[in-house]
Each structure stands twice: as structure tokens, then as C-alpha cells.
């Protein structure tokens, strides 16, 4: 539980950090689509190399990425077990008790694990290198064209940025409450069913209470400073695309095209 790293901004100085958030968001979307194209192991290899290169350029550590994977471990193990039980195609590989493990079960799980890893790598490249505020500006700009069809671009961007802003706070809060309840003898890790339910309740209730409290405080603070949704606002920071931003977009588009080509080939 100690260090929750998924989605955190890391204040470093790198070429990736300095890029235009719009380019980074678009690039990430292109790469995410590329991951969902069934391009086989070669395709995933290419995406992995690109993502790893970006991580190096952004001066991020691979340990940081692996740490963000940790919360998903349980989910993946669960998935593996389910797959083993339901998938009965491919060659049977080995037998554990009454269960026969088939090759496809392992392949399927591996596919999902690899995709998840790639997705986390790529989203981390965005979230770890982009200040939440820049992210909002980027999202808002990208949604601007859709305002014509009454998409509330500014409100959506504000929503997202507030949600992002609260994630670390809520994590800290969770840890604080866990500690407070542990001081009262709660055991978060083991115990009988009934005790575990109590333990979870003792965490969830205060967490909700404080989340609502925070939301209300923030709303009041924003209103007190004259914020009104839908009203015209000027910007302090104006985004500008530079050469490297176009290069990034070009590379991502090329990868996506490559994946499509690869999937056609097989």
C-alpha cells in the first residue's frame, strides 16, 4: 500500500516534460488504439520499444512503472485462474489436480498482461510528465471543436483536472485513516470475515465523509473566487505546438499505421 505511484506527476526536467500536453494526449490516444489492434508479438515488441524509449527520454525509472503495476497483480492472478478454468482450446500443457491447463489459457493471460503493461507504460509517460494543470488545458483545447455540438469542453476539462488533483489527496487520506484505525486495534490484513467487514467499513465511511467534505470545501473556495461554469475565462498560459510535438504525433501515427498493417498481414 505504501507507495501508490500510478498517475502521479513527477517533477523532472526532460524533453518529454517540456512537450505540448495536447501532443502528448493525442500521442497517447494513438498508442492506446495501437495496443488494441491485434498485431501479434512483433507489434507489441515495437510498441514496447517505443514506450521504453519514451520512458528513458523522460528520465523516468522502470522501477516506478513496475511499482504502479503492483496493485494490478491480484487482478492478474485472478484472471489467470479464471482463464485456466474456462479456456479449453490449444494443446493441453499440464495437469494440476482436476484441472487441465491449456496453452491458450496461458497465451490469453499473457496477452492481457502484456497489453496492460504497455498501457500503463504509455499512460505513465503522459501522467508522470504532464502537470495536472497543463493536462486540463490540453484536454480543454482538444475538446474545443466539439463545443459546436454542445460538448461542455471547459466543464469536462475542469472535472477531469479536479478528479486528478484529488487522487493523491485521497490516497494520503486513506493511509491516514488506515493508520488511525490500526491504532484502535483494527487488523486490515487478516481476521475473520466479520472482522474484515468491520475493518473495511471503518475505512470506507470516514473516507466518504472526508471526500464529500473536501468536495464541498473546494466548491465553496471556487465560488468564493468568482468561478462560474460556462462563463468566459482568459488564460494565463497559452499552449503552442513546436517541431518536437509534431514529430511525436508523426511517430505515433506511424506506429498505429504499422500495427494496422501487421494485423492485416497475419
Amino acid at each position: 500500500m505504501g507507495n501508490f505511484t500510478l498517475g502521479r506527476y513527477l517533477p523532472l526536467d526532460s524533453p518529454i516534460h517540456r512537450m505540448d500536453p495536447r501532443a502528448k494526449i493525442m500521442g497517447m490516444l494513438l498508442m492506446l488504439i495501437a495496443i488494441f489492434i491485434p498485431s501479434g508479438w512483433i507489434g507489441y515488441g515495437i510498441i514496447f520499444v517505443c514506450a521504453a524509449g519514451t520512458i528513458l527520454l523522460a528520465k523516468l525509472q522502470f522501477g516506478f512503472i513496475l511499482k504502479s503495476m503492483r496493485p494490478m497483480m491480484i487482478m492478474m492472478i485472478f484472471l489467470f485462474i479464471i482463464n485456466c478454468l474456462v479456456i479449453h482450446t490449444g494443446e493441453p500443457l499440464f495437469v494440476i489436480g482436476p484441472v487441465v491447463i491449456y496453452k491458450d489459457a496461458i497465451l490469453q493471460t499473457l496477452y492481457i498482461v502484456v497489453r496492460l503493461l504497455l498501457m500503463i507504460m504509455i499512460t505513465t509517460c503522459l501522467t508522470a510528465t504532464t502537470k495536472p494543470l497543463d493536462m486540463t488545458l490540453g484536454i480543454e483545447d482538444l475538446l474545443k471543436p466539439f463545443e459546436k455540438i454542445h460538448v461542455p469542453a471547459h466543464e469536462i476539462a475542469m472535472l477531469i483536472s479536479i478528479a486528478l488533483r484529488f487522487i493523491p489527496d485521497l490516497i494520503d487520506e486513506t493511509q491516514r485513516i488506515i493508520k488511525a484505525q490500526e491504532s484502535r486495534g483494527v487488523d486490515m490484513k487478516e481476521g475473520k470475515m466479520q472482522e474484515r467487514i468491520m475493518a473495511i467499513l471503518s475505512l470506507i465511511v470516514p473516507l466518504f465523509v472526508s471526500a464529500f467534505q473536501r468536495a464541498e470545501d473546494l466548491a465553496n473556495a471556487m465560488e468564493a473566487r468568482g468561478y462560474a461554469p460556462g462563463e468566459k475565462r482568459t488564460r494565463y498560459k497559452v499552449l503552442k505546438m513546436a517541431g518536437r510535438d509534431y514529430t511525436l504525433l508523426l511517430c505515433c501515427t506511424a506506429v498505429l499505421a504499422g500495427m494496422i498493417w501487421l494485423s492485416r498481414m497475419s
Binding site: 493508520k179 486495534g185 472526508s210
Partner: protein, 286 residues
């Protein structure tokens, strides 16, 4: 049994860019059966220090001796629950830990976790409520709809009901009204004098330190800068000024009087005494 830190360091988020050394090579022994105040500027590591006492935080290096336990860096201590029953820790802003339907149930939650029966837990809860000055009319109310100060009392009662041998309080009176603060501090004082509990209080309030505590530990940038008894600490204001701490009003008053040619004895420890002494001296000269 001593409470001691031996070369304890604590590093938050080690191995990430958010790495932060909150305690650095702390060696410190805390007096048993006394009230010790832990003071220091915000961010100096007070909360981090006290969370080691019931092993909520484990040392990154060094070891902590508490009651009959030794908690060493790198080991995975077992049976922390029994330790947590003996060392009650009230968190900074503990009102966020309330969750039960009624005040009584919330206070009884702690003792029940330590294996006390339902009835006994309720009994302990009632006693604790009385101690913190919550009348029986609060028993059936929801803790979530109380005022901030009342919530604080419920949270403190929740730890008192566990009847710990060592009581650790992280800024227990921050945000309470002056009357509530008095009440709480004299409760802790009583618990120490009557039941012999070892009490540690993290506080920013020098008046409290002066009036209720026996010992002082000054934290500075993750290290204990000084540990001494309250009398020595407040003997005159020079030590406080050296540490950038505003001494209690009484001490400042005494100092000013001395600067202006009065003789004020160290024995005087409250406003009444000082006023009488002053009147005596003025009359004699007048």
C-alpha cells in the same frame, strides 16, 4: 521499561523521486510515568516520531524499544495488535476516524477489537465519555453529526477506552476552544498523576508545556535538538529564544520584570503568585 529510540531513521517513499528523510539518526530516551511534550516547527518530524511508538511506522534504520518490545529496522514485527492496545495513539485531527452509527459504539470499537466483551466495552466507553466530558445524552447520537470539538472528544475517548499504559497524543487540543483545551489537558494530567500512565503530547502550545508537562523534547529537522525537564527549559527565556520559540506569557513577564529591576524568584509558577509578589514589592518601595 524504557521507551527509547536508538539511531532511528525514517525515510518516506524511499526509492522514488519523492524520497524524504523525516527522521535522521534519532537517539532518544523518553521518561516513564511522566508527561513529555514534543515540540518543534511544523515538518520537523514530530508526528513521524510518535507513530513509531505503536509501530504504525517502522524504522528505516535503527530500533525502537517500547514496553517489552523491540522494533528493529528490516524485521517484520508480529503481534502488533497487543502493542497497539498498550500504546494508545491519538492522531492529529482524529475526528476523521469516526464511523460507527452511535457515539457509544464508536468509542467501544477499540476495546472490542482487543477482545473485550460487548458489555464491558460499553462500560469502558461510558467511563471514557465521562472522562472527556461528554454527557450520556451523546451516547446514541451519530458521531458524524457532532461539532468538530465534540468529534475530537469522541475520538480521544475511543483511545482512552482501550486503557493503554502509554498514551500518545498528536496535537490533541489543536482547534479546541480554550475551555475544552483546559479540560483535555487537565484530564491528561490527572491520568498521569492518578493512574501513572506515561503520556506523550505533541503540541505547539508553550503554555500547555509549561503548565502540564514534566519533560520537553525539541525536534528540529528530523532530529531531537534538546531533551530536558520543563523547569530547566523555562528557567528563563534565553533557551527558548535560542530555539526560536515564544516562551509562555508568565516567563516573558518574569523576564521583563527582572530587566526592570524587580527580583522574581523561580518558585513562582502562576499568575496569582506573580501578582502577589509584585504587589508586595511595589508596596514596599511605594
Amino acid at each position: 521499561m524504557p521507551i527509547a529510540f536508538e539511531h532511528v531513521s525514517h525515510i518516506y517513499n524511499d526509492g522514488t523521486p519523492y524520497r524524504h528523510v523525516a527522521l535522521e539518526d534519532v537517539s532518544l530516551e523518553l521518561a516513564e510515568g511522566k508527561i513529555t511534550a514534543i515540540i518543534g516547527q511544523t515538518g520537523s518530524g514530530k508526528s513521524t516520531l510518535v507513530q513509531h511508538l505503536n509501530a504504525l511506522l517502522l524504522p528505516s534504520a535503527g530500533k525502537v524499544l517500547i514496553l517489552d518490545r523491540t522494533i528493529e529496522a528490516g524485521s517484520q514485527p508480529k503481534q502488533l495488535k497487543s502493542l497497539r492496545g498498550q500504546v494508545g495513539l491519538v492522531f492529529q485531527f482524529p475526528e476523521y476516524q469516526l464511523f460507527e452509527e452511535t457515539v457509544l459504539k464508536d468509542i467501544a470499537f477499540g476495546p472490542k477489537n482487543f477482545g473485550v466483551s460487548e458489555e464491558d466495552a460499553a462500560k469502558k466507553a461510558r467511563t471514557a465519555m465521562q472522562m472527556v466530558g461528554l454527557g450520556p445524552e451523546f451516547e446514541e447520537r451519530s458521531p458524524l453529526e457532532l461539532s468538530g470539538g465534540q468529534k475530537r472528544r469522541v475520538a480521544i475517548a475511543g483511545i482512552l477506552a482501550m486503557d493503554p499504559a502509554v498514551l500518545v497524543l498528536d496535537e490533541p487540543t489543536a482547534g479546541l476552544d480554550p475551555q475544552g483545551t483546559e479540560q483535555m489537558m487537565s484530564l491528561f494530567h490527572r491520568l498521569n498523576r492518578e493512574s501513572g500512565k506515561t503520556i506523550l503530547i505533541v503540541t505547539h502550545d508553550m503554555e500547555q508545556v509549561y503548565r502540564y508537562c514534566d519533560e520537553v523534547v525539541v525536534m528540529e529537522q528530523g532530529k531531537p535538538k534538546l531533551r530536558t525537564d520543563v523547569q530547566t527549559f523555562f528557567h528563563d527565556s534565553s533557551l527558548c529564544r535560542e530555539l526560536n520559540i515564544l516562551p509562555p506569557a508568565l516567563i516573558r513577564m518574569k523576564d521583563m520584570l527582572r530587566e526592570n529591576g524587580f527580583t522574581v524568584s523561580d518558585e513562582i509558577s502562576d499568575v496569582n503568585g506573580l501578582a502577589k509578589e509584585l504587589a508586595r514589592q511595589v508596596k514596599r518601595h511605594g
